[in-house]
């Protein structure tokens, strides 16, 4: 089983990196780009857990270590079949 964790800065937190990427995309002519947020993608391989347990553990990992709740939020996806 593989947990996919997406960590991004909260909406109310300025993302200078995303802002710089947005400006660069504008320079390339992509005027349609309204906003860019740069985040992190973390894959966590798990074993010996039911999907419910895995989700619960992942939530715990996110709040304790993988994301900082002061500035970040996260989204989880669980891939039960980890054969790519």
């Amino acid at each position: 089983m593989v947990g996919k964790v997406f960590v991004t800065l909260k909406k109310e937190v300025l993302d200078p990196q995303g802002d710089t990427v947005r400006k660069s995309l504008h320079t390339l002519g992509y005027d349609q780009v309204e906003d860019v947020r740069v985040g992190k993608y973390i894959e966590v391989k798990l074993q010996g857990l039911t999907p419910e347990e895995a989700r619960k553990k992942l939530e715990e990992m996110c709040s304790r270590l993988l994301a900082n709740p002061v500035i970040e939020e996260y989204r989880l996806e669980l891939l039960e079949d980890d054969a790519k």
Partner: protein, 232 residues
């Protein structure tokens, strides 16, 4: 007064802190390895700057779970003096000993130069030898020193006089131009509510001898000693 300097893999200001306590302040000092699990016998702890665990995940995020950090937290909760400098400040934030979090500098650039700081309070064991409102110069060296907290936290910091240092111009004005990293309210250093924990991005240990360019940082260490000897 016995100081402990906590060393993580990737700390790189530990020797500077050790030197200042040992040679300039003239007090006993020992290194404490991050895998140790006791801070017994120490009167103050310094969490030095550097790049603990290569800044992986987030600055300070991994160091925060080192065995020694639980001892640092217990020590602080009992009222022991703890100062986190630069990466040490980031670790104290991650550990929840101080409120808020660090973001990448708004310029996205690593900033390494002396800056003007305003001493916002001398009501603390770390700043008692400064004058309130005094402008001092200390060097900064960081890529992630953009202090962030929500409005409620900022209100608390202001209400309880927990802001120790702010970035300012030579006249002491906290202007946006004087802010090197985008920190909220120009914050460079904060205290906890109990005033026994200080986190700051500038490096007092690098400006504690005139030979190295400035000595405005020395009074911080001297303040700690005086507070200890005077029973805080």
């Amino acid at each position: 007064m016995k100081f402990g300097v906590v060393v993580f893999p990737g700390s790189n200001c530990d020797a500077d802190c050790y030197h200042v306590v040992d040679q300039v302040l003239g007090q006993p000092v020992e290194y404490i390895w991050h895998k140790d699990n006791s801070v017994k016998g120490f009167d103050a702890l310094i969490i030095p700057g550097g790049f603990s665990y290569g800044d992986y995940l987030r600055t300070g995020a991994i160091a925060r779970f080192s065995p020694i950090m639980q001892e640092v937290i217990n020590f602080a909760e009992k009222g022991g003096l703890v100062i986190g400098i630069c990466n040490g400040f980031q670790i104290l934030l991650e550990a929840g000993l101080l409120p808020g979090a660090m973001l990448r500098n708004d310029s996205l650039q690593f900033r390494c130069r002396p800056v003007n700081l305003k001493v916002r309070t001398n009501n603390s064991p770390f700043t008692r030898l400064y004058q309130p409102g005094e402008v001092i110069t200390l060097p900064i060296a960081h890529g992630e020193g953009n202090y962030f907290c929500d409005q409620e936290t900022l209100n608390h910091l202001l209400e309880f006089d927990q802001i120790a240092f702010t970035y300012c111009d030579p006249a002491g004005q906290e202007t946006p131009e004087a802010n090197p990293n985008g920190s909220r309210a120009n914050i460079a250093g904060i205290l906890n509510r109990r005033r026994n924990v200080l986190g700051m991005m500038p490096h007092p240990e690098r400006y504690s001898e005139s030979l190295l360019g400035g000595e405005d940082g020395f009074r911080l260490f001297a303040s700690m000693l005086q507070s200890f000897e005077g029973g805080i």
